[in-house]
Symmetry: C2
Subunit: 318 residues, 2 copies
């Protein structure tokens, strides 16, 4: 076999336990349980943009799957299968082994099977498509938020963006907290359990990948409501707070991106249930604002409206 | 909205007629009919490798979908949905409009809906994932060929490879037939109708993307049989024959790649049915050899065995 075929086989082929036919044919064959909908999402990570060419291959493998699992979480779907389209400048066995380690470490943890893919030569880029299952009426969408809904976020925001700013020299912060911030950037944890538990409880949901304002903006626009955000309520980790630079912290919280937390809306009478949910799954859930009639976003700080920052979200081409 | 979001919306968003939820949310939601299996395949085209950066954008859009549809044809599946992961060096409205034209021209023709994707900035590459439906027991696979089966190919082989050789200066051919050869390279026709009609008739099938020997080799290996190929029987188009250079023609027929014809096996008692099928769908089907007990590939020319060429298939990294 030629090196290309060998690649796919050696690093990525495993028996398909939950597929009719896995890697090895022109297509994989999957069975979706009767009555369930298939949820499908794809995300690409490009070297030099989403990660550096020198980044740890294991972390790239992990993150390429994690960002996609986060989309599943945002739908409340249970992830099942993935395909991997890998473009590589050269065949580097050590790199591939590490990449596969990171990928499968996460895949095994969440029960996802790799059932197909493509390996091509070119500048390093990784495109993963994730497929999951959900009862169609239970899916969390972006267009179902209602005026009066509370807006919530999981975990804390801004850590990943702060780590990136430090790495890129936009912040000179060098305290011990840096390690934690970088961990959040390189090894994000998709909120799959939260997503499935929000079915029937949340009205709308999105995962925060481009930044709170940008992603919340999608919900507001698609649900035709206005988002009112309380800047003082945004959950900031101790590590991010330690960075000290208030302007940078604010930018990271609002627009940093790469958080992979869930932002969702629910009726106010769901507050007790959400409190219990947070305790039961050991995940902080913070109420950061509300939706109301109108459009766009409004930001409040110490009770007064403030101007929205110019940079509203991750723009690849900006 | 930022340019990136605008991109996805403007060129690629259409109402999802056959999806529960289409482009615009964290994932698309699709319903697979009860009892059917979902067939899934992904192929990436990279600039500088599968096409030149100067290639016609409409042709890239068309071909990025066509090569994936060919995988569906090789399974005998009916294609339904696609996702598009596009990596672009810059936002070029004219390029995007032409790309979308080519993509949707083919998608509309075969009834495929674009239901998701990702747009990232980086060196030009296109990754399309195709999803289709098939009754699981009807799927054409690579591992079901039997000793005694005839080996068939559809259409003719080698045109695309000859066109590439001409473009890359490996052949000086400049006759009027060049246009036809280039058309076959830039606008391959996936054999979807043939694929669905081969259900229950063919034992094994593959689409010829890397080259006849390489792709047939997959069937032989996965079915644990030996492929005996009659070089004199390989279907060569008048345009390819006009190129004149016999060695190049032979290489193109056997190893050229980019044909996107189907290579399949069937019991000898299926010959009449296949003859009728060819007439009914107006597609040439040529018997080129047979499978027998053993392993690997054997090539016959004028009744004598000949050495297999060294270059057996498309190796990205070779």
């Amino acid at each position: 076999m030629t090196p290309e075929f060998d690649l796919i086989q050696r690093y990525f082929t495993r028996p398909a336990k939950h597929a009719i036919l896995g890697i090895g044919d022109d297509a994989a064959l999957l069975r979706v349980p009767n009555g369930m909908a298939l949820a499908v999402s794809v995300d690409t990570l490009v070297s030099g943009h989403h990660f550096e060419i020198s980044s740890d291959a294991r972390s790239i493998g992990y993150k390429s799957l994690a960002v996609n699992l986060s989309d599943m979480a945002a739908m409340g779907a249970s992830p099942r299968w993935a395909t991997l389209a890998l473009t590589l400048p050269m065949v580097d066995p050590a790199w591939l082994a590490a990449f596969a380690d990171g990928f499968f470490e996460l895949a095994d943890k969440v029960g996802v099977e790799l059932i197909g893919g493509d390996t091509t030569s070119g500048p390093l880029a990784v495109s993963v498509q994730i497929m999951g299952e959900i009862m169609p009426d239970s899916a969390l969408r972006r267009d179902q938020a209602c005026p009066g809904d509370d807006i919530w976020v999981s975990g804390t925001l801004g850590d990943a963006a702060a780590a990136l700013a430090i790495r890129q020299g936009r912040s000179g912060f060098d305290g011990p907290e840096r390690q934690i911030l970088e961990y959040r950037l390189d090894w994000p944890e998709p909120r799959l359990l939260l997503g499935t538990r929000l079915r029937g409880l949340a009205h709308a949901a999105i995962d925060i990948s481009d930044g709170l304002l940008a992603d919340l903006g999608h919900i507001a626009r698609q649900s035709s409501v206005q988002a009112l955000i309380n800047l003082d309520a945004l959950p900031c980790s101790p590590e991010l707070c330690a960075v000290g630079d208030q302007q940078l912290i604010e930018e990271c919280l609002l627009s940093g991106g790469d958080d992979y937390e869930l932002c969702f809306s629910a009726a106010p009478d769901g507050r007790d249930d959400l409190k219990k949910l947070a305790e039961s799954i050991h995940l902080k859930l913070t109420r950061i604002g509300k939706f109301q009639v109108g459009g766009g976003l409004k930001l409040m700080k110490k009770g007064k409206e403030v101007d929205l920052p110019r940079f509203l979200g991750f723009d690849h081409f900006g």
